[in-house]
Subunit: 224 residues, 2 copies
Amino acid sequence: MDEKRTGGKTLAGDAYAAIRQKIRSGEFRPGERLRFADLQALCGMSVTPVREALARLTAEGFTTVDDHRGYSVASLSLEELRDVTAARQLCEGEALRLSVSRGDAAWEGRVLATHHMLALIPQGRDDLPSVMREDWEERHAAFHAALISACGSPVLLEICEKLFSRADRYRRLSVSLDGAARDVAGEHRMLMERALARDAEGAAAALREHYGRTAAALEAFFAA
Amino acid sequence: MDEKRTGGKTLAGDAYAAIRQKIRSGEFRPGERLRFADLQALCGMSVTPVREALARLTAEGFTTVDDHRGYSVASLSLEELRDVTAARQLCEGEALRLSVSRGDAAWEGRVLATHHMLALIPQGRDDLPSVMREDWEERHAAFHAALISACGSPVLLEICEKLFSRADRYRRLSVSLDGAARDVAGEHRMLMERALARDAEGAAAALREHYGRTAAALEAFFAA
DNA sequence: GAGTCAACGATTTTCGAAAATCCATCCGAT
DNA sequence: ATCGGATGGATTTTCGAAAATCGTTGACTC
């Protein structure tokens, strides 16, 4: 949400980035309790910056807090997955609609460029090195951010970014899930084409379906 | 957003509540810098809990942070007012639609009860004691929360609550604004009637218009 | 006179230890 | 045997001071 704060400017920022990364990658598992002693050892710093990092993470939904009982990794559930998906379809759908109708040439360039970067990496293959998977996640996020970047509403963008992070945890939980049954790259291409063709409604519909499919695939994983 | 945390369980919670109240009431003005020394003196505690309180407030948009330069009260602008209003119309509109179609008898009761409490206090009169105004604000928030309380989406509710707080600052900035030209109580009554009549679209439309009028009134104030 | 750079003061940020709190366990009484 | 209440250990929360950082002031050079 705030690039200035995830950088190496303060120790609290470092702790925030480190813990967040371990939660998103699954190294810290949902529901797991996070003790200060462990986190201090991990980050190599005192309790104060760790505490601030956890406060931020809690505000963003990555962790939960119980007064005088400490912090835990927020747990995942099928209900929350459905809930987050619906909220994304609403908010990001509207943001995309606005962006498509308002975007200028620079926005078109961003959409093209980020999609190009994304399309260079195949997805859904289990044998990829984890560095490459990490890279794909980053480019995927960049593409979706570019799509809505011209919506003109910082508030909406902030909401979308938070929801994206939240959904991210579910996707990463199941690494290579439905590579065969689904053409994710094709969905992304269609998204880009409709956006650049200035078909706001069509693009929004494609986005909603894109998220619907993702959620459906994850539901199957969850049931197992 | 989190009742457990605003209570008196920890000093950080107290500081959060105290500072937030001073920001919302306008005693801490938009853009004003918040020094730790002052806040410590105000809250009667050390720097640690104050720091945690500011971290939470920043995550909710009440304050901003500049690394190594401290915290300030988030400033208000016409642009942000419009932005927040649009986001509220989108998110709270959808939440209301869902709530109206899903709400059970208990929800109807909550809507009726909170509207009754709200209707007992006149609004827009400058000569009311500030205690009563504060009371109106509280009941107003309770009514709007009740309306969407049956939407079934915790994520959406959290978003709405955050946006409500953010819009709240604008409303409180201008105390008695348009008492003559506008029938706020009537708008609230219509909102309640349509909701209880299970007219989801009508209620959502009324809500959007309600927020549109509020924003318009505030725009006039801002221009002056 | 304009510009550069070092030292200062004000403030934030971090540390390490002390205080407070919670949970589990154990003891004794009914 | 079960319940109520005190005790201890583990952990969070808070404190007060030290360290780090930023903007500024002032001297010094060109």
